[in-house]
Symmetry: C2
Amino acid sequence: MNYLFKALNDETRREILELLKDKDMTAGDIADAFNISKPSISHHLDILKRADLVTSEKSGQFITYSINTTILEDVLQWILTLKK
Amino acid sequence: MNYLFKALNDETRREILELLKDKDMTAGDIADAFNISKPSISHHLDILKRADLVTSEKSGQFITYSINTTILEDVLQWILTLKK
DNA sequence: ATAATATTTAGATATTTGTCTAAATACCTA
DNA sequence: TAGGTATTTAGACAAATATCTAAATATTAT
């Protein structure tokens, strides 16, 4: 739970998830969408991956990232129990 | 949105919300539930309050805190749009 | 008025975090 | 195999964060 909230607690990472919601993207394409260096984006992707919010697949020299929404169910449940 | 996620990104603050889910509590009673100094808890309550996740009411020398779940709707919506 | 209690504010400090540049690794192609 | 592209790793640094103790503020009770 901690990792999840930590991962979501950053505007850039949340925007990455919003991008990936629409389509899978390579690390480079994701980096190009921000005014942040590639290494920084790589670091953000690593945090998202550790939180299981994204998955990655290597194909050749590219690494394609995809969103994993199933893990969001945990956050959803936590919030919903607060609301009752 | 930023304030909200920031406020939720701390185990102690999340536990405070879980306590307040069951019943309103004074600042002192909340502090007693943790192994953390009163000033630190006061600071956490301030962050929760700025995020509108709790409200407070002063009665005499006590300040009673209550959870405000309506604001959680925003987080809920943000997550739900990611899932579609 | 004085003392006690509840809470916050102020200031200090150690840790965590987001960012950068430079270098390393991996893959592809000519 | 040499050079180019994609990505990550390493190391440094500034800013943000969580915590603490000491002091201030506000309220109640003697």
